[in-house]
Amino acid sequence: MKTELRGNTAAASISIQNPTTAAAAAPTISGALTGCLGSLDGACIEKLLLHCASALEGKEWTLAQQVMWVLNNVASLSGDPNQRLTSWFLRALISRAANVCPTATMHHFDGSSAIDRRRQMTVTELAGYVDLIPWHTFGFCASNSAIFKAIRGCSKVHVLDFSVTHCVQWPTLIDALAKRPEGPPSLRITVPSVRPPVPPFLNVSCEEVGQRLSNFARFRDVEFEFNIIGGGGGGSTTTSFDNNNIALCRNSMYDTFHRYFESLLTSLVDPHQLSSLFRDDEVIVVNCQNWLRSMPDDDEEQSAGSSLRDDFLHTIMGLNPAIVVVVDEDADLNVSSLTTRITNCFNYLWIPFDALETFLPKDSAQRIEYESDVGHKIENVISHEGCQRMERLESGAKLCQRMKNVGFSGVMFCEETVKEVKSLLDEHASGWGMKRDEEMLVLTWKGHNSVFATAWVPGGLGEN
C-alpha cells in the first residue's frame, strides 16, 4: 500500500515537490479510505460550510483552505443529494473567496457568469423543465386558479406577468378560460422586456414566446393579445438577457435590469403612459412569480424607508388590480450575515436536490441541469454582495407582512383551488404535500416548506 502510494506520488508530479513535504507523505491514507461515511451527514457538512465561510470572513486562509479541501472530498456532482448540494456550495464559497468580480473590460468570465452561460432551452424543453417537479407548477396552478376565480364574469382581462419562466404558466389558464361556461374573456398578457438574469434561460425571444401563446389562444378560440413593455420602442426591441451577448458582464446586467425596472415603475405611475398601457374597461391582474426576490431590497434601502421592492408593490396597487398573485420560494435568503445565509440556504435548497433524487438517476442530464440552476442561486446568494446579489429572497411570512404593510389584503384560496393543487401534487412523487398557513398555500416536500403562493387585493376589500 505504502509502496503504491509512494510510487504514485513520485509519478504524479502534479506539483514541484517541496522536498520537506515528501517526508510528510509517509503516513498512508489508504486506510483512511475505508472510513465510515456516517459522520458526513447534513449537519456535519453544514458545519464545515459555516466554518469555511467564517474562516474566509476572518481572513484565516489556511483554515479556510483546509476546510475547503475536506469539503472538496465530500462534494460530488454525481453523488447523493448532500454531496451534490455540497459541491455547489463549495463552488459558491470558492467564488466568494476569489471574488472574481468582473469589470466592464474583462472578457473572461468569472465563476458566476460561468454558470450564467448555461445552455439555453427551447420552449419545449422549458415546458418539460417546469414539469419535472411541482416546484413551479404548484405556483402556476394556485395562481391560475385564483385568477380564474377573480375574473369570473369579466369580459376583458389584462394580465401583467412578472415572472422568470417565460410565460409557461399561461397555457393552462388560457385553456381553462376557453372552457368557461360564459365563454372566454378577451385576454391580454403584458410582460416586461427585461427579466432578471437568472435561470431558466430561453433560446428564443420574448416575441417568439408571445407568438406561440397567441397561436395557442387562437387555437382555443380565445381572443388574445401579447405585449412587451419594451426598454425602448415597444415590442420590437427586446433587451432580453437570455439571448445574450455574453460579453455583457454581470455588473452591467444587473445595472441594466435595475435601471429598466426603475423606468418601468416610472411609466406605470405616469398617467399618460398608463393610458397607453391599459384600457378603461379591462380588469387588471398582476402575477409575480419568483420575481419580487430580484427587486432590490437591501439594507440601505430598507433603512432609507422604502426600497424598490416596496415601490413596485405600491405602484402595482395603484393600478387597482382585481387580484395580485405572488409566488416565491419560502426561505429567508436576504439576511446580511453570511453565515446565516449559508445556513438558510443549505437548510432549504436540499429540498429540490432531495426531490430530484427520488425519481431521476444520478447521471440524468435534466437533473444536473436543474441542480446547476439551484447552484446558480446558491452562488449568487453566497458569493455576491451589493447590487450583484440579485437573489434576495424573503420568506412567505415576511412577504405577507410586507404586502400588508403596503396596504394589500390577503385573499384566501378557495376549496376548489386547493383541490386542484392537490390533484396536481397527487401526480407527482409522494413526498410533495401542501398546507395552508393563513393566506398562504405552501408546497411542502416531506413536510418542509418549499414554495408559497398568495393572493392579494388592494385595500380592505379582501375576504380576510
Binding site: 506520488t9 504524479a12 508530479s13 502534479i14 514541484i16 513535504t21 510528510a24 507523505a25 509517509a26 503516513p27 486506510g31 483512511a32 472510513g35 461515511l37 459522520s39 451527514d41 449537519a43 489556511t62 483546509q66 476546510v67 475547503m68 472530498n73 465530500v74 462534494a75 460530488s76 447523493d80 476569489a98 471574488n99 468582473p102 473572461h108 468570465f109 465563476g111 452561460r117 445552455r119 432551452m121 419545449t124 424543453e125 414539469d131 419535472l132 409557461v168 433560446n203 406561440r212 395557442f216 445556513t343 438558510n344 443549505f346 432549504y348 447521471d363 442530464a365 435534466q366 444536473i368 441541469e369 409522494s430 413526498g431 404535500g433 398546507k435 395552508r436 416531506k446 413536510g447 416548506n449
Partner: protein, 510 residues
C-alpha cells in the same frame, strides 16, 4: 399515494395517541445508537427548533400492525383503531384523548445512517411520513405494477400508481405522450407542431386516446425522453427555436454528449498514470489543465477507464477553478459540463502529497466518500508545511504569500485589484518554484501591506501549528475545534503535529 394535506408541522393524532406513549410494551421506542433523543437547535432549522427528535428503530418503523386485539388477534396500526375494534367484542375500551397540554412537536429521523433524513434538521414531521419514507427508501420493493415496470415498497403507493397507470394519455402532434393534462397543455401551447398548424382551421385538440402502450413510467421519464440531450423525439422543424447544439457558437452543446468526449483523452491521462505528463504536455496551454491536474493527480494502478461520474464532477470543479483564473483567450461557454480536452479524472483524496493539496486519485464515482469528516480533517492536518506555499487561495490571488515582500494583501471584498493570471495561479498551486520574485511579480497588487501569513505561518505546519504547540493561533484552534466537534470520540489531539494518524480511521485498508 397523495401526500397528506397538512402533513408537515402538526403532530398527528396518531402520534400523541399511540406511538411513543409507551402503551406498546412489546415495541418500546428504541433509539439508534447514533442519535439518541435530543433537542436540536440549529439556526435556520425549518421545523420547530424545540421539537423533540425521535429516532425509531427500523423494526418499529416497518411494523404495520402493532396493536393487536387479544380476542381475535386482529392487528391495527393505531391504538385508536384497536380500541374502537374492542368495542365490538364488548370489551372495555378507552380512547385516549389528545391532551392539550402535551402538544409537543415531535419530529422523526430515519434510522438509516446514510440517509439524508437521519439528520435531525431534515427530520420529518409525522410518524406516518417517516414510516412511509423508510419503507419506500430503504425497504424492499415488493409491489410491482402490472402494466409498467415500476416497483413500490409501500402498498398504498403501488395502489395509487396502478390507478393512474395507463389510464389517461394525451398525445401531442409531435408524438410526445403525457399522462397529465396540464403538462400536455403547456407543452402543446409551445410545441413546434402547433406552430405549424396555426392558420389552419382545426378541431379541438384531440381527446385523450385510449390507453396505449405506456412509453415508460411517470411523466418525468417521458419528458426526459423528449428533453435536451441530443434531440427531442419529434423531429424539430427547422425553425429558429429548434434545439440545435450547433446553433450558436456561444452556447455549449448539450451536456450529455459533452460528457462522453473527454473520456478518451482523459483515459490517456489515466493510462499515463502521471500528471506530470499532463503538466508538461499542456504547460503552455491552459490554466485549466493545471487546475485539473491539481484536483486529480495520478491514477492508481488499478484505474483504467474513468467512469463518467467522476469525470463530470471534476469537470465542473476544474471549470470552476479555471473560471476563477482570468483567461483572456477563453472560448469556453458553459462551464460545468464542457470540460477541456485533457481533463484528468476524478477528485482525489490527497495523499500527503507534499505541496499538492489534492493528491491521489480515488475512485470516486458511484460510491459516496468513504472517509469520515474527521479523517478528512485529520488528513488535512497531515499535509506538510509546504502547503502554505501551495495555497489554493493564494493561487487565486486572494492572499499574499508568506515570505515574499512584493506580494500584498488583496482586499477581496472590494474592488478587484488583481488579475489572477496563469502564473499566479500556478504559483499558488505550488507548481512553480516559489521564489518570491518571479511568480509574485505577476500578481498585480493594490498595495503592499503586511502579509497575511505573518512569520507565524511560515514556520508552522499545515495546520498553522508549531510542531509542538497544539492549538496555537486562531486557525489551528479553529481546525482543532472543528475536528473535535465533528470527530466526536476520536482522539484528535494525538493526530496533530508530527503527522501521525490516530489509528481509528486508518485501519488496514482494503
Amino acid at each position: 399515494m397523495p401526500a397528506d394535506l397538512d402533513n408537515s408541522s402538526t403532530a398527528s393524532g396518531e402520534v400523541s395517541g399511540s406511538s411513543s406513549g409507551g402503551n406498546n410494551p412489546s415495541q418500546p421506542l428504541q433509539s439508534t445508537a447514533a442519535t439518541p433523543k435530543k433537542k436540536r437547535n440549529l439556526p435556520g432549522m425549518p421545523a420547530d427548533p424545540a421539537a423533540e427528535v425521535i429516532a425509531l428503530s427500523p423494526k418499529t418503523l416497518m411494523a404495520t400492525n402493532r396493536f393487536v386485539c387479544e380476542i381475535c388477534n386482529k392487528g391495527f396500526q393505531r391504538d385508536q383503531n384497536l380500541q374502537l375494534h374492542r368495542r365490538g367484542h364488548n370489551l372495555p375500551w378507552k380512547l385516549r384523548q389528545r391532551s392539550g397540554k402535551d402538544v409537543k412537536k415531535r419530529v422523526y429521523v430515519c434510522p438509516e445512517v446514510s440517509c439524508v433524513h437521519h439528520d435531525p434538521s431534515r427530520a420529518l414531521g409525522d410518524l406516518t411520513g417517516i414510516k412511509k419514507h423508510f419503507c419506500r427508501k430503504h425497504g424492499e420493493k415488493k409491489w410491482k405494477c402490472d402494466k409498467c415496470s415500476k416497483k413500490y415498497a409501500v402498498q398504498s403507493d403501488w395502489k395509487a400508481h396502478s390507478k393512474i397507470c395507463g389510464t389517461r394519455e394525451y398525445k401531442c402532434d409531435c408524438g410526445t405522450l403525457f399522462s397529465r393534462r396540464d403538462s400536455f397543455i403547456t407543452h402543446r401551447a409551445f410545441c413546434d407542431a402547433l406552430a405549424e398548424e396555426s392558420g389552419r382551421a382545426h378541431p379541438r385538440h384531440p381527446t385523450p386516446p385510449p390507453p396505449s402502450n405506456r412509453s415508460t413510467g411517470p411523466d418525468p421519464t417521458a419528458i426526459v425522453d423528449s428533453a435536451p440531450p441530443p434531440a427531442p423525439p419529434a423531429p424539430p422543424p427547422s425553425q429558429s427555436s429548434a434545439p440545435s447544439p450547433s446553433v450558436s457558437p456561444i452556447h455549449s452543446p448539450d451536456p450529455a454528449p459533452i460528457m462522453e468526449e473527454p473520456l478518451a483523452p482523459a483515459a490517456t491521462v489515466n493510462a499515463s498514470c502521471s500528471s506530470s505528463s499532463t503538466i508538461s504536455s499542456s504547460n503552455g496551454s491552459t490554466t485549466s489543465t493545471v487546475f485539473a491536474s491539481l484536483f486529480a493527480s495520478s491514477t492508481t494502478a488499478s484505474e483504467t477507464t474513468p467512469p463518467p461520474q467522476p469525470q463530470q464532477e471534476t469537470h465542473s470543479f476544474t471549470d470552476l477553478i479555471r473560471a476563477m483564473a482570468s483567461h483572456p483567450d477563453h472560448t469556453h461557454t458553459t462551464v460545468e459540463l464542457a470540460p477541456p480536452p485533457t481533463e484528468p479524472i476524478s477528485l482525489c483524496l490527497s495523499t500527503s502529497h507534499g505541496s499538492s493539496i489534492f493528491g491521489q486519485e480515488r475512485h470516486y464515482a458511484p460510491q459516496p466518500p468513504s472517509m469520515s469528516a474527521t479523517a478528512l480533517l485529520q488528513k488535512a492536518a497531515q499535509m506538510g508545511s509546504s502547503a502554505t506555499n501551495a495555497s489554493l487561495l493564494r493561487g487565486l490571488g486572494i492572499v499574499s504569500s508568506s515570505s515574499s515582500s512584493s506580494s500584498a494583501q488583496l482586499d477581496i471584498w472590494g474592488q478587484r485589484h488583481m488579475e489572477a493570471d496563469n502564473s499566479s495561479v500556478l504559483l499558488g498551486l505550488g507548481l512553480l518554484p516559489c521564489d518570491g520574485g518571479s511568480g509574485l511579480k505577476e500578481l498585480m497588487m493594490g498595495s503592499t501591506s503586511s502579509s497575511v501569513f505573518g512569520p507565524k505561518h511560515a514556520t508552522l505546519d499545515f495546520l498553522g501549528l508549531g510542531m509542538a504547540a497544539v492549538g496555537a493561533g486562531p486557525s489551528s484552534s479553529g481546525l482543532s475545534a472543528l475536528i473535535t466537534s465533528i470527530g466526536g470520540g476520536l482522539d484528535v489531539a494525538a493526530s496533530f503535529g508530527a503527522g501521525e494518524f490516530s489509528g481509528k480511521d486508518i485501519g488496514s485498508s482494503s
